[in-house]
Amino acid sequence: MGKNQPDLLPGTLDMLILKTLTRAPLHGYGIAQSIKRLSDDVLTVEEGSLYPALQRLLLQGWVKAEWKMTDTRRRARYYTLTAAGRKQLGLELSQFEQVIGAIGRVLRDAEA
């Protein structure tokens, strides 16, 4: 509402979540915050997309979830990257770079 923020590129949310989880297990809120912080508030993950996406990743077996206590003694569900998830991330990253590279070349060519 009035916020002028670019939308996430379609299909990149899964990749971002997986990437975020490479450092440490995080809960849903943590994932959203981490993406927001790392992108300097450019990318906002809508909760309406985050939780369905997490379910999708769980179903694919790319992440696993367990309930743990937070630092503030609160129960939260933490997501951990699995080996399959790591492999998937590599795959998606290389595809993404290919696409970005291609787009870049097209744009440069158009400018010149």
Partner: protein, 881 residues
């Protein structure tokens, strides 16, 4: 493998969905709390922070639903929708009951007819590899299909290279002494390889052995399963038992399996080897047999036909006297068995399909009206966040519930209908259609009903989904919303009604044509009065009547005693009853005419002196027989009018002579009388030239007795059987029936009657549904136009004018439906043309009558809402705005 794990995970979630939900809730609550904390840390007030967190989080229920959609099977939503669908239908029982009943009628009629089609046309015959079996007969230019003679069979079997096996069969009547008198039991005589050719092995005992069909071999026989149960109470020790049939002993060697049937001789109990001992079976020109053959691998019916035809031609050259003009005819055995009912069943299936169509269209338009009135509900649900897919899913589920209900009730109706239809089949007819014996709702019928129900459900869900996708939410929410969408519905509904009316016309005209055809058939010019005639078949076993003179004496005694019964006017015997078949033909050659080798084929009957007076035929010239006619030369013969006209045009046939194709002196016959034509043939056949010889000259041991009485002919039947038994206890009787019963129960009348009545019933239902359909659309249109009508009346329109306005709208639909229907009816009548008797497919009176009936009924149905429109109170209608 990956899919399997995937599926397993989904299953886990499904079974632990409560936990799945609560975990998700907890996770989201945690998320909100964290966000709230963040806002507070940034300096917001606690209250504001909570709302901000809530706002930024969005619709929790939606997220939950979406997450569940990703992970689950959508089961929960479907269960919800299902419950909702039931609640909706319960809330509106009138709609639900009507829709389910209409659908059940359609599916029931369709499934019942399909069950018959399945039993007769789809289910394979109970033989090994039935597709390779053929019926082999001779063919004759004059009579078409003809039986095969024993010497021809032997040559055909020896000379052909296309059949791995070939065997013959012919019907037989065996007289069996039972405690309740001597009975004629239908049987079949077969060559010994018959069951091996069919690929049938006995359930008990053994098959016939080679050589058991040679003259002089000891008598053996096999029983059908039914006969074994009925006559021998299913005892295993019947094998080896000896039974006296027609004065000869037959040893029971085997019992046929339970599922065995042979439609070409369906009522046979006893099967015995065919020993070619009779006079007829020694002659090449006496045709009494049918053959079945099993094609060699890789041989087609067509190449078999070609080979058999060339063999027949060789025999024709070799035996010109007996085989001239005799070809061969090869038909798949299945076609020979069900060929007569196939066109009828297909017509009925077509009729049932039309009824099903009309039922589906009717329910679909009901659903359309309902979806129209549910526009607001749908719009509200959409506004509250239901996705289009979810809304569509609701319609699909409702359609499935309706279709399932219709299917379940429809199968009940089908079951009842099948029982009724089967009950209508007489025992004789059933014997000719043994494949109907196991008729029931089997897997095929269930699958048929399920597929039809699924298709119907597809139609029912597609229509409202399409309909609603054309409308937008805002319009649906507007209270008085009745803009373009109402018109759209009216167009769609109007199209449906036109389809309904057109279909009803097609069915009505089909019923009209078939009904007219049945009437013509039953009132066909017989040439004799069929009322007050009692008939019974008698057979005298050779063993008890070795001399021909004994047979003659028996017939004389019988007719004398029957004549003496009170009320009896006259009695006569014949070897084949009138109005039954054009069987028993003979070849003749006219004396004193040039002969080019072409046989003249005539129907031949041997009758007693009382035959003509019993039938009350009209003598056109010459005289009838007397009882004192003896074996004189030339023998005397009476011919019918067709014979006289065809062979002696413009001449007096009386006094003319004819003989067999060789004109052997003892075959010469002299015509002493010409009788007016009457039907020897089946009702739908033309009268052929016929000759009548005195029974005394050429006596056979089985004949039919015909009695004309002034009293109730039905009551006479047991009396006749009793007298036969009294004269000689070893004489057997069967098929006692009045002539009216024979005509009404004949196969051709039965086929016509069942088609006419079934299609008639379909048409009646179609007419009703069509009337309901047009009533519905006009009533709906009136309800939508109430305000417009109010305005018109306020501006001075008269009630009559309003009524006409509405009727004009209905008239356009009725006109379109009728025109389309007539075109469809003519197109549909072309394939049933061959089944009609005495009526053209484009019979104008029928078509006009049908159109008038439908238009009248439809008009009457639209008059009700039109009058309601005319009685609208303008002030009230305008105030409702």
């Amino acid at each position: 493998m990956a899919n399997l794990i995937h599926f397993a995970r989904r299953l886990t979630i499904l079974f632990r969905r409560r936990r799945f939900g609560s975990e998700l809730d907890e996770e989201m609550a945690f998320h909100r709390e964290q966000a709230e904390r963040e806002y507070i840390a940034a300096g917001m007030k606690a209250e504001d922070a909570r709302f901000a967190a809530l706002r930024s989080f969005g619709n929790a229920a939606r997220i939950r639903e979406k997450s569940a959609e990703v992970a689950g099977f959508h089961i929960e939503g479907m269960v919800q929708d299902l419950r909702f669908a039931f609640r909706q239908l319960r809330k509106n029982p009138g709609f639900a009951i009507t829709a389910v009943l209409i659908l059940a009628l359609g599916i029931g009629a369709g499934a019942a007819i399909f069950a018959f089609v399945d039993a007769a046309l789809i289910k394979p015959l109970p033989y090994a590899d039935p597709a390779r079996l053929a019926r082999i007969t001779e063919s004759d230019a004059a009579v078409g299909l003809a039986n095969i003679s024993y010497p021809d069979y032997v040559d055909w079997k020896r000379l052909n290279h296309v059949f791995a096996a070939m065997d013959v069969f012919t019907g037989a009547a065996y007289s069996l002494r039972t405690p309740s008198g001597t009975q004629n039991i239908p049987g079949v005589r077969v060559s010994t390889g018959f069951f091996r050719t069919l690929g049938v092995t006995p359930a008990l005992g053994r098959d016939f052995r080679e050589g058991e069909d040679l003259p002089g071999a000891p008598g053996t026989m096999m029983l059908t399963y039914g006969a074994w149960q009925r006559r021998f109470s299913g005892r295993a020790d019947v094998i080896g038992q000896s039974v006296n049939l027609s004065g000869e002993n037959f040893t029971i060697i085997g019992v046929l399996p339970r599922g065995f049937e042979f439609a070409l001789r369906g009522n046979a109990d006893f099967w015995a080897p065919l020993q070619p001992t009779s006079e007829c079976e020694k002659r090449r020109d006496c045709h009494s047999l049918y053959a079945v053959g099993r094609l060699k691998d890789g041989v087609t019916m067509k190449s078999a036909q070609a080979e058999m035809q060339s063999i027949a031609q060789k025999l024709e050259i070799r035996y010109p006297d007996s085989n001239r003009g005799r070809g061969a005819s090869i038909v798949p055995l299945a076609d020979a068995m069900v060929g007569n009912v196939r066109p009828m069943l297909l017509v009925l299936l077509g009729g049932a399909a039309l009824l099903l169509l009309i039922a589906c269209v009717n329910v679909a338009s009901l659903l359309l009206v309902r979806s129209e009135s549910r526009r607001r509900e749908i719009a509200v649900r959409g506004a509250l966040g239901a996705s289009p897919a979810r809304l569509s899913c609701q319609f699909v589920i409702e359609a499935l519930v309706l279709a399932a209900g219709g299917c379940a009730f429809g199968l009940g109706i089908a079951d009842a209908l099948m029982r009724i239809l089967k009950g209508l089949v007489s025992t004789d007819m059933m014997a000719a259609m043994p494949y109907l014996d196991g008729l029931s709702i089997n897997a095929h019928v269930l699958a048929f009903a399920a597929v039809v129900a699924l298709l119907a459900a597809g139609l029912f869900s597609l229509l409202p989904i399409r309909h609603l996708s054309c409308s937008d939410l805002r319009e649906g929410l507007a209270a008085g919303g009745r803009g373009s969408t109402g018109n759209l519905w009216r167009r769609m509904g109007a199209n449906l009604v036109v389809i309904e009316l057109a279909t009803a016309i097609v069915l009505l005209s089909g019923a009209g044509l078939l009904g007219k055809s049945l009437y013509r058939l039953l009132h066909v010019e017989l040439g004799f009065a069929p009322d007050h005639l009692a008939t019974i078949s008698v057979s005298l076993p050779d063993a008890a009547f070795p001399q021909d003179s004994q047979l003659v004496e028996f017939v004389r005694q019988l007719t004398d005693r029957v004549d003496a019964l009170p009320g009896v006017r006259s009695a006569g015997v014949t070897n084949a009853l009138p109005a039954s078949c054009s069987c028993n033909t003979d070849w003749i050659r006219l004396v004193g005419r040039p002969y080019n080798g072409v046989h003249l084929t005539v129907v031949e009957r041997r009758v007693s002196a009382g035959f003509f007076s019993t039938l009350q035929t009209r003598l056109l010239g010459g005289r009838y027989f007397t009882d004192t006619e003896t074996a004189q030369t030339p023998q005397v013969v009476i011919v019918n009018r067709t014979f006289a006209r065809k062979f002696f045009p413009g001449e007096d046939a009386v006094g003319k002579q004819f003989g067999d194709p060789q004109l052997t002196p003892k075959s010469i016959e002299q015509i002493v009388g010409v009788v007016d034509d009457f039907k020897e043939e089946a009702l739908d056949e033309e009268v052929d030239p016929a000759i009548y010889k005195p029974y005394i000259e050429d006596t056979s041991n089985s004949f039919s007795l015909m009695v004309r009485t002034s009293r109730d002919e039905k009551a006479l039947l047991p009396e006749l059987a009793r007298i036969v038994q009294e004269i000689n206890p070893s004489a057997g009787t069967d098929s006692p029936a009045t002539m009216m019963e024979r005509i009404d129960g004949s196969q051709v009348a039965y086929l016509h009657r069942s088609m006419a009545s079934l299609v008639g019933a379909f048409a009646a239902i179609a007419l009703l549904l069509g009337a309901v359909g047009i009533y519905g659309i006009v009533a709906y249109s009136v309800s939508r136009r109430t305000q417009e009508i109010g305005v018109r009346m306020a501006l001075g329109a008269e009630r009559g004018a309003v009524c006409r306005l509405i009727l004009k709208e209905a008239g356009v639909l009725i006109g379109a439906g009728t025109a389309l229907g007539i075109a469809g009816a003519i197109a549909a009548a072309l394939p049933i043309r061959k089944l009609l008797f005495g009526v053209q497919a484009w019979d104008a009176p029928t078509l006009i009558g049908v159109a008038l009936v439908l238009a009248g009924v439809a008009f009457a149905a639209s008059l009700i809402p039109a009058r309601r429109a005319a009685s609208v109170d303008p002030t009230e209608a305008l105030r409702a705005e």
